[in-house]
């Protein structure tokens, strides 16, 4: 299996995990291990150096995988840039997931502020992964300013509505020169597989695993689905048609003109 390349680094796993919403740090760590993820996102606002039992950064650092601090909580580019810089300083990771959702209720990303922050952070040497609306034009604009990947949403964060943006994600993938990672909205491993079959380079999952009856088991299921979807894409899916196609041609007897 080809490796996922992001910001000059290579990763075996194409499943990225979000780390919020788990019922305990232990369960979160078990889920990450079961998923085989080598990249995890973590909110700067959940870094707590003053109270280790409330801190996500410490336990994630000890796992020895690549951390992607996110800027969740930022309402505009200036706040996201400050948060990214603090996140890099505290975590030692140059990766950043730019997450700017000014409306605290539906948490939809702000395309204008996301673009501004991504441009500035890429210029500052960050490996920028912007969480974005599934907009093919914005995706190209983010690629042009030096993002390492784009992360269009499948549906609204936490809703489990699956790949409701599938048609837009296909357009993004068709044009993209950088990895496309579907982030948010996936509920079932089959949806992750579908995203990979469509040509995504990776998927990011949080709620679907954290809110599952058995998070570690669900994380393992997602890992299998992502591998299967990627392998299917590599193998070349047959084209979809409206009619049955006979396996032996029906007109081979017509040899003459």
């Amino acid at each position: 299996m080809n490796k996922l390349k992001l910001g000059g680094k290579e990763f075996e796993s194409r499943l990225i995990l979000g780390t919020g919403k788990f019922s305990s740090v232990e369960i979160m760590l078990e889920a990450i291990k079961a998923s085989g993820a080598e990249l995890v996102t973590v909110a700067l606002r959940r870094f707590n150096r003053d109270r280790p039992s409330d801190d996500l950064l410490g336990p994630l650092t000890r796992l020895g995988i690549t951390l992607v601090p996110n800027t969740s909580g930022a309402r505009n580019a200036a706040e996201a840039v400050r948060a990214a810089q603090l996140g890099r300083e505290l975590s030692g990771s140059s990766f950043v997931k730019v997450e700017i959702h000014p409306n605290p209720h539906h948490l939809m990303p702000d395309p204008i502020e996301t673009y501004e922050a991504s441009r500035e952070l890429a210029r500052d040497g960050f490996i920028v992964l912007p969480y974005m609306p599934a907009d093919p034009v914005l995706a190209k604009r983010l690629e042009d300013v030096g993002c390492a990947a784009v992360m269009p949403l499948g549906s609204a964060i936490g809703t489990g509505q699956g790949l409701s943006t599938a048609e837009m994600v296909k357009l993004i993938i068709a044009d993209s020169g950088i990895p496309v990672i579907v982030d948010a909205g996936l509920r079932a491993p089959s949806e992750a597989a579908a995203a990979m079959e469509m040509g995504c380079s990776a998927v990011l999952v949080n709620s679907a695993i954290a809110a599952a009856g058995h998070p570690a088991a669900m994380a393992a299921a997602f890992a299998i689905a992502v591998k299967a979807g990627y392998a299917a894409r590599q193998a070349g899916l047959m084209s979809r048609g409206d009619h049955a196609v006979a396996t032996s041609p029906l007109t081979s007897f017509l040899t003459g003109s």
């Binding site: 019922s23 606002r45 706040e79």
Partner: protein, 369 residues
């Protein structure tokens, strides 16, 4: 003259449904894709009370979806019990409780350090209605000191002008809590006997000024027990919806303060039972699934444990409602309200963990100011 309930908050079109909905209306509301006033009203009905378990199941599913298996913790800090208000139901009213006190600067710092050492990262600073002892300058000083120590600082004080809120925001506050107490204008006038708080219209317009002044969140609530809870919660629901539409970059949260009959001798005219309070909270969760719902230590341990992660996603704990209560060796005076849940942080967190909920102390960062 009593104030005027504006038409955009008027619950009249839904009140009949809130009183007489049929079980079929309730079931439709429980499964509605985009619940609004009609569904909310149906869920406040007696028929919905018969389906409380179904409401709880739906509420828990939505709480988990939006807030995960976590519960955010905060702590209140009473800065001053001077007050210019005459609220009939309040232990801090201007004609009760002598002597009065406020935290002087050095005492404020000792209290802030005391609660910081308990592990909190979100503090709610409280005063009474505006007095020369606790005015904007005093509050801004407290916000600035708190902001140096805590990731999140919010304020529950007196109604202010938008520019005053902007000044507190500049000092580091990210949110303001302001309860309407009751939306029923005549009842409001009877409950607030004198002082600036008697101005119903001004108080009603305050949450909008909070957000106009640049605060990220406004905490809202009705003091349950003062008026018909169906009337008040429908108004509250409409008020929150209106603010969300108008200030789309800001958040609202809803709290559920309730006057209990045994407190300070005051008998509320519309007492709300545990069962009905739970129904109200579930109705809010089902119809506003992404809005933070908050419950204080005013409520008893059993009720709070039952609501944690089911309807409510944020709670205070280890609260003292007296001025200077965190350094004092023992509770010497009754505070603004009686604390019914006096557990310490460790036992409360142990309860949360036993329920599969992660207690979260820090869910914000100073960088977002």
């Amino acid at each position: 003259m009593p104030g005027v309930l504006p038409s955009f908050l008027d619950p009249a079109p839904w009140l009949t449904l809130a009183r007489t909905a049929a079980p079929a209306d309730v079931r439709r509301a429980l499964n509605a894709a985009q619940p609004g006033e009609t569904e909310f009203a149906a869920l406040l009905s007696p028929a919905a009370g018969e389906l409380l378990e179904d409401m709880a199941v739906r509420a828990r599913e939505l709480t988990r979806r939006h807030f995960g298996q976590t519960l955010t913790l905060y702590i209140p800090l009473y800065l001053s019990d001077y007050c210019s208000g005459g609220c009939v139901y309040c232990g801090f009213a201007a004609d009760r409780r002598q002597p009065r006190s406020r935290l002087e600067h050095d005492e404020m710092i000792r209290e802030l350090d005391a609660i910081k050492s308990m592990g909190f990262e979100e503090v709610l600073l409280l005063t009474g209605e505006r007095t020369p002892h606790a005015d904007l300058d005093y509050l801004r000083d407290a916000v600035a000191e708190a902001s140096r120590r805590f990731a999140a600082v919010t304020v529950e004080a007196f109604p202010m002008a938008a520019e005053e809120y902007r000044s507190l925001s500049g000092a580091g506050a990210i949110g303001v809590t302001i309860y309407q107490e009751t939306y029923e204008p005549v009842q409001y006038e009877q409950m607030h006997r004198w002082g600036p708080k008697r101005d119903y219209d001004n108080r009603l317009a305050t949450p909008a000024r909070v957000l106009e002044g640049g605060m990220r969140t406004v905490g809202m609530g009705a003091l349950l027990g003062l008026s018909d809870p169906r009337f008040d919660t429908l108004c509250l629901f409409r008020h929150a919806m209106q603010l969300r539409r108008r200030y789309w970059q800001s958040g609202v949260s809803i709290s559920f303060p309730r006057v209990c009959p045994q407190e300070g001798g005051y008998i509320p005219p519309f007492p709300v039972s545990d069962r009905y309070l739970a129904q109200i909270i579930f109705a809010f969760r089902i119809c506003m699934p992404d809005v933070p719902l908050v419950l204080s230590t005013r409520e008893a341990p059993g009720f709070r444990d039952g609501m944690a992660g089911v309807g409510v996603n944020k709670m205070s704990i280890a609260s003292r409602t007296t001025v200077g209560g965190y350094q004092a060796a023992a509770e010497s005076l009754d505070g603004q309200f009686h604390v019914n849940d006096d557990r310490d942080i460790e036992s409360f967190c142990a309860m949360l963990r036993a329920k599969g909920l992660e207690p979260v102390f820090k869910n914000w960062d100073k960088v977002y100011r």
